[in-house]
Structure formats: structure tokens, C-alpha cells
């Protein structure tokens, strides 16, 4: 017997990514309040330092997953004709994946 689509995985992904996103935002805020980078070199050295670089990359991965669940919910709620719905979901997925690849290039390729 096939297991039903309960939406649990999406729900969990949305909540877990939300917690990480909120936590990282607070970390960012605290760092900028305490020790804001004041020059190009300071900015680069801080953001591209090993731990911050990976944590930031994870932030954007979490952001894209969170955005996927959220915008997908909006599309599913308001767009009913199947062809339009699938096209929009495909466009959303493509856009988010492209943004993800771009972001990884920016953070990990520099």
C-alpha cells in the first residue's frame, strides 16, 4: 500500500530551515553590533573565513529550501489549473536552483 502525502517532510523542512535562518540572522546582527567590518579587506576576511563562509553558504541553502516550501504553498493554494500550476512550480524550482548555484559560486568560488 502506498503511503499518503501528508506534507510532513515539507512542514519539517520549513520549520528546521526557519530556526537556522533566525539563528544565523541573530548571529549576524550580534556580530555587526559588536564588530562591524569597516573596509573591503575586513569584510572579505570575515565573510570568507572558513567557518563564516560555510555557515553563510548553509544560510542560503536553508533560505532557498524555505522559500521553495513557502512559495510552493502559495502556488498550490491559488493556482488550480494543472498546466499553469506545474509551469509555475517548475519556474520556481529552476529559479531557486539557479540562485543556489550562483550563490555557491559567489561564496565558495572566490
Amino acid at each position: 500500500m502506498r503511503s499518503p502525502l501528508t506534507g510532513l517532510r515539507a512542514w519539517l523542512m520549513q520549520r528546521l530551515t526557519a530556526v537556522y535562518l533566525a539563528g544565523f540572522t541573530l548571529f549576524l546582527l550580534a556580530h555587526f553590533a559588536w564588530d562591524a567590518p569597516v573596509s573591503f579587506d575586513a569584510w572579505r576576511n570575515w565573510l570568507l573565513s572558513p567557518v563564516v563562509r560555510v555557515a553563510t553558504a548553509l544560510f542560503f541553502v536553508a533560505l532557498l529550501l524555505h522559500a521553495w516550501v513557502g512559495v510552493r504553498d502559495v502556488i498550490l493554494d491559488y493556482v488550480h489549473p494543472l498546466a499553469v500550476r506545474l509551469s509555475l512550480l517548475a519556474a520556481l524550482a529552476s529559479g531557486l536552483l539557479a540562485t543556489g548555484v550562483w550563490m555557491l559560486g559567489v561564496l565558495l568560488g572566490l
Binding site: 520549520r15 526557519a18 530556526v19 533566525a22 540572522t25 573591503f40 569584510w43 572579505r44 565573510l47 570568507l48 542560503f60 533560505l63 532557498l64 522559500a67 513557502g70 512559495v71 502559495v74 488550480h80 540562485t99 550562483w102 550563490m103 559567489v106 572566490l110
Partner: protein, 127 residues
Amino acid sequence: MSRSAKRRPVFFNLRQIDLPVTAVVSFGHRISGVILAFSIPALIYLLQLSLRSREGYAWVTALFSNRFAKAGAVILLWVFLHHLLAGVRHLLFDIDVGVGRRAARISAWTVLLSEFALVVLASGILV
């Protein structure tokens, strides 16, 4: 399923519906989410520019001394704060905190007042 849905009556005149504050927070949460999602590419672009070269970094920092950019940043910050605070309220619901009607209204007002206060505070600091 969609055939019977076409025959059901709908009423979307928001000015005639008596909306509780919880509905306003909920609408705002969804709308702010969509706005934030669409602003992701622009933000990544700014990040890329600021990291790529000194000229890029200078351009991005100069951008934020422009009064229109500042206004846009404050608006985006407000949108972000609403989404974050309403989201925290949602997470609390998930662990069964504040689910009763009265508590939900209080938390909804708290979200709205907090985000307003934080936007004022932040724009005072940043602008």
C-alpha cells in the same frame, strides 16, 4: 474537485469583512514571504559585488547613502521583521504555545507593535 469548486460562492471584499488582527498578521506573513523570496536574487547580487572588488564594495556602500536606497532598505527590513516575528509566533503555535483565541490575539498585536518599534529603532540607527 475543481468542477464543484467553480460553483461555490466567494466573497473577497476585504473592506467589508470584519478581519481580526490575527488575519492581518497572517496575510502579512504570506505577502512578506513572497516579497522576500523575490528579493533574494538582488541581495545575492549585492553580496557578490561587495566581495568581488574594491570598486564593487565601494559601490555597494555608496548605494546605501542614497536616500531612495535607504528608504527601500527600511521597507525591506520592515517586511523581513514582520515575516520573522510572525514566523516565531507560528513556531510557538507548533509547540502549542498561545493557541487559544485570546492569547493568539495578544501575540498578534505583540508582533505588530514589536515590528513597528524595531523598524523605528533600526532606521534611527541606520539612517
